[in-house]
């Protein structure tokens, strides 16, 4: 039976925890709004880009001279898994869900006898995958010092990935990130970026027109494909950012609620034992008086 003082300390400590989780929840809510705006603003570019790429890939992609980024290297022996996670924890299942998906994929590929390599972005994913796959790591990108991810960050990652591709280090690249559905739902997603597959979206009717290309179609495609990799990584990073904040917000909301429940329970226990102490003191006094 804990003493009254113990209970009091306990209640105070849970109250402090609740304050922290409440603050974190509010910070996450503010950041979420910003992250969502960023994702929103990046959408027109990605959409136009994909529409143009779909048109180009449709006309050039099938030929023998198509760039490797779109036709592949002709083999799918070596896979590069790019795992995008957060730099910080305390965001519910966010990091572990992404890592889990990547782990499943890695194990499935290994079972098929393929070679797997991993590039991690964000500390948490690297920590989670380190135990099982440390020998597969080929690199790590640290985003710790970056307040809000910009296109330049995505370009750096893309540059790294592309130079590895050019050096023939892998055949297929897949990125793992968390797709943002809404504040409470984030779906871990895998997306193959090399070789790229651009599918014509429904509203690509503008591309039905015959285009003049300057320079040639092939040259434009060769120029745009590396940008496409960066664009896809960038939108994955943005989705991830919004998902992280959403996950953190709901995790912290839960934590705040749990702390509140715990405080209520502890307060009841505290009051009960206080009453018990008073009662026993009264009994002592009365029985003492009677004995006289």
């Amino acid at each position: 039976m804990p003493s009254l003082k113990d209970l009091k300390n306990r209640i105070q400590s849970v109250k402090n925890t609740r304050k922290i989780t409440k603050a974190m929840q509010m910070v996450a809510a503010a950041k979420l709004r910003r992250a969502q705006e960023a994702a929103e603003e990046a959408r027109p570019y990605a959409k136009r880009f994909n529409a143009v790429m779909a048109g180009l890939a449709g006309s050039v992609g099938g030929s023998d001279t198509a760039p490797k980024l779109i036709s592949g290297t002709g083999s799918d022996q070596v896979h590069l898994l790019i795992v995008l996670t957060a730099e910080r924890g305390l965001c519910g299942g966010f990091n572990s869900n992404i890592s889990k998906l990547a782990r499943q994929k890695a194990n499935a590929l290994k079972a098929e006898g393929k070679t797997v390599k991993m590039l991690t972005v964000g500390k948490k994913g690297r920590d989670a995958l380190k135990r099982d796959f440390e020998d597969l790591f080929v690199g790590h990108v640290d985003l710790a010092g970056i307040k809000s991810v910009g296109y330049a960050n995505a370009q750096d990652i893309a540059k790294d990935v592309l130079s590895r591709f050019d050096a023939g280090e892998f055949d297929v690249a897949t990125i793992f990130y968390s797709g943002f559905v809404n504040v409470v739902t984030q779906v871990p997603t895998e997306l193959q970026i090399i070789p790229a597959s651009y599918e014509a979206s429904d509203d690509a009717d503008g591309l039905a027109a015959e285009y003049d290309y300057e320079p040639s179609e092939e040259a434009i495609l060769a120029d745009l494909l590396p940008r496409g990799v960066a664009t896809q990584i960038f939108s994955a990073l943005l989705e991830n950012g919004a998902s992280e904040q959403g996950a953190r917000m709901s995790a912290m909301d839960n934590a705040t609620r749990n702390a509140g429940e715990m405080i209520d329970k502890l307060t009841i226990e505290y009051n009960r034992s206080r009453q018990a102490v008073i009662t026993s003191e009264l009994i002592e006094i009365i029985s003492g008086a009677e004995a006289l």
Binding site: P44, A209, Y213, E214, D223, F234
Partner: protein, 136 residues
């Protein structure tokens, strides 16, 4: 005949302009070209240069560093890697860009990737010319 067309300037991070324009000068990879309403559908890559927009509300200028432009039936979209309104570009920013181009050129020379050297050299020259052009 339509005398204006929809003009969109978007960068990966955000949409910079969306308006009705009468003519847009595009720094195409193979030379400047001006897109006016009813232009034939064209897709061109961009070199670093000035993008001049003429619209009934007034003219505006942007510095773009690369990307591509798509002239379609319904209008013109420019997807720029980086786009900065000319007035807001400072000498320092330009120097950073030139420095980036220079190191890319150097890297290409060092690695003896001959096909890349000329591209990088052209990029560098374009960047430098850009500075002179806007008088910084």
């Amino acid at each position: 005949m339509a005398d204006t067309m929809q003009f969109d300037l978007v960068s990966p991070e955000r949409s910079l302009a969306s308006l009705k324009a009468t003519a847009v000068l595009i720094p195409g990879a193979e030379g400047d070209m001006t897109a006016m309403p009813m232009h034939a559908p064209t897709i061109t890559t961009l070199r670093p240069g000035l993008l001049k927009v003429e619209s009934p509300e007034g003219n505006s200028e942007y510095v773009v560093t690369g990307g591509f432009a798509e002239i379609g039936v319904e209008g013109l979209s420019v997807l720029a890697e980086k786009a900065i309104p000319t007035g807001e570009l400072t000498r320092e920013q330009l120097d950073t860009l030139i420095e980036e181009a220079r190191s890319a050129h150097q890297a290409a020379v060092d690695n003896e990737q001959h096909d890349l050297v000329s591209d990088a050299a052209k990029l560098l020259a374009d960047m430098e010319a850009l500075g002179t052009h806007i008088g910084l």
